[in-house]
Structures are given as structure tokens and as C-alpha cells.
């Protein structure tokens, strides 16, 4: 296979990872909302945990995106 074509396919495959991270971030915020609506008074205290979970989850999607960019532009 042409190396340039293989690179583009690889970048496309790496981009799947961002979609998987999207599932994680969606679950995170969805669960937070369902919990927050059950007990709204406890919700503000969990904001830091929410953001921490978001950062850790989102980082993995960003790593996948980074690999895609590296394949595309280097």
C-alpha cells in the first residue's frame, strides 16, 4: 500500500477513539445530571469531581485525536 494512503487510513482509525471518548463524556454528564436532579442540594459539592472525571475522560479522546493529527500533518 502507498504509505501516504496508509497514513490517511490510520488517521481515520485513530479518530474513532474520539467517538469512544464521547460516549464516556456523555455518560459522565448524563449520570451527573440524573444524580443532580434527584438531589439538587448535593450537586454543587460534586462539581470538582465532575470536572475531574471530565478531564480524565476527555484526555483519552484528545490523545486519539493527537495521533490522528500526527499522522495527518507530520
Amino acid at each position: 500500500m502507498d504509505p501516504a494512503a496508509a497514513k490517511l487510513i490510520g488517521a481515520g482509525l485513530a479518530a474513532i477513539g474520539t467517538g469512544v471518548a464521547a460516549i464516556g463524556v456523555g455518560t459522565l454528564f448524563g449520570q451527573f445530571l440524573s444524580g443532580a436532579l434527584r438531589n439538587p442540594s448535593a450537586a454543587p459539592g460534586q462539581f470538582a469531581n465532575l470536572i475531574f472525571g471530565f478531564a480524565v475522560t476527555e484526555a483519552l479522546g484528545i490523545f486519539a485525536l493527537l495521533i490522528a493529527f500526527l499522522l495527518l500533518f507530520t
Partner: protein, 248 residues
């Protein structure tokens, strides 16, 4: 399409060679200096009046102080307040670099892995030094979670050590990759606009759609710029908490 990577090119403004090390003043350094000057202006000039009823600038300085002070108190504990200047400096520095990078034509210093890696390593070594200075060899308890069977320790301790060593990597790459990805996406949508207008005719009218998208993405990037600075500072607090209270 214009090359979306071009914006991250480091340009030497002032050539400088220190004993064989290339220490040139670059556009990255220029924007870091701008950030430091703006932060100094905000905090020194803003708090200069020390009015009981703060004006706008003083309010901003006080809100950012309170924001970080609450975070340090919540996560590290009251005993961690001596690290407040450290966390506050890191937060404001990253926040201003991220925000300044959103200005058209500006350089985003946090989109270089060298900058974020330096910040992450600073945090990493601070945690190690503070941890050993405060707890002596007790700091190693960080790698031995209490309340698990002895036999499982063979498995858990290496995992804990690997996760500790990979902290600076994820800490720096998260910020760097977020800024890089955001700016590349903005540039790509900007490229769509110029390409569509360049074709002329009816297609030029379609350029409004990527333009709207670029606008929405810019708004998202403002949020991301703040969020990543917050996340970086919060993780710093969590690592410092580990250094001060290594027992799980």
C-alpha cells in the same frame, strides 16, 4: 487550504546564543511575557486601591483569588494553603496564555509540548520533594494502598508506581493536545470559509455555514481555555494533596 499547523511555528524574534544553547527570544516567549505583564497589572494595579467596595478590576482580582483559594482549601486542605501562591501562579499563567492564544494572530504558548511539559515537570518534582521533605520515607506509602490483601500488593504496587510516573505525561499532554486540537479545528473551519469564498458565485454564499461553525467553536474554545487551566490547577492540587497526605 492553508496549512493548519503553520500557526504553531516558533519564530525567533531576537537571536541569542548562550554557551551553545539556543536561547533566542521567540514569539512563544513574547506571549508568555505579555501574559505575565497582564497578570501583574491585574493583581498589583487591581488590588492597589484596596477599596472596601471594589471596582471592576479589583473584583476580578478578588474573584480569581477566592476561586483558587477555595479550590486549594477543598482539595489540599487548610494546611495546603502555603501552596496557594504556586497553584494561583500556575492557574493564572495557563489561563492567560490560553485566552491570549485565542486572539487572532496571537501565538498560543500552551500549544507547545515544551511549555506544558516544563509546567507539569515542575509540579511533578515539587510533589516528590515536598512529599519526601514532609513525610520522609512515609511518602512511599502513596504506592501501598491500605486495606488490601498482601498478595495483591505484588500487583497493585507496580500499577501505582506506573500511574505515578505517568502523571507528568498525561498532565502535560492533556493541556497541550487540547489547545493544539482546538486551534487546528478553528483553522480548518477558517480555511473552509476562505476556500468557499475563493470559488466565487453561489458557493461563496454557503461560506456563512462554516463561518457560523467557526464562531461557535471560538465560543467553545473560550470555555476550553478556562476549563483546561482549571483542570491543570485542580490536578496540581490533587497531586499536592498526595504529597502532604500520602496514606490513602
Amino acid at each position: 487550504m492553508p496549512d493548519p499547523i503553520h500557526q504553531f511555528e516558533i519564530k525567533r524574534i531576537l537571536e541569542l546564543d548562550l554557551f551553545g544553547i539556543d536561547a533566542s527570544f521567540t514569539n512563544s516567549a513574547l506571549w508568555m511575557v505579555v501574559a505575565v505583564v497582564l497578570i501583574s497589572l491585574l493583581t498589583i494595579w487591581g488590588m492597589g486601591g484596596r477599596a472596601l467596595v471594589p471596582n471592576r478590576l479589583q473584583s476580578v482580582a478578588e474573584i480569581s483569588y477566592e476561586f483558587i483559594a477555595n479550590m486549594v482549601r477543598d482539595i489540599v486542605g487548610v494546611s495546603g494553603m502555603k501552596f496557594f501562591p504556586f497553584v494561583f501562579t500556575i492557574f493564572m499563567f495557563i489561563l492567560f496564555l490560553n485566552m491570549l492564544g485565542l486572539l487572532p494572530g496571537a501565538f498560543t504558548a500552551t500549544s507547545s509540548i515544551s511549555v506544558t511539559a516544563a509546567l507539569a515537570l515542575l509540579v511533578f518534582f515539587t510533589v516528590i520533594i515536598v512529599g519526601f521533605a514532609k513525610n520522609g520515607l512515609g511518602f512511599l506509602k502513596l504506592f501501598v494502598p491500605s486495606g488490601i490483601p498482601k498478595i495483591l500488593l505484588l500487583l497493585v504496587v507496580p500499577i501505582e508506581i506506573i500511574s505515578f510516573l505517568s502523571r507528568p505525561v498525561s498532565h502535560s499532554v492533556r493541556l497541550f493536545a487540547n489547545m493544539l486540537a482546538g486551534h487546528i479545528t478553528l483553522k480548518v473551519f477558517g480555511g473552509f470559509v476562505t476556500m468557499l469564498i475563493g470559488t466565487g458565485g453561489a458557493l461563496a454564499a454557503v461560506a456563512i455555514f462554516p463561518l457560523t461553525m467557526a464562531l461557535a467553536l471560538t465560543a467553545l474554545e473560550v470555555l476550553v481555555a478556562f476549563l483546561q487551566a482549571y483542570v491543570f490547577a485542580m490536578l496540581t492540587c490533587m497531586y499536592l494533596h498526595d504529597a502532604l497526605h500520602p496514606g490513602h
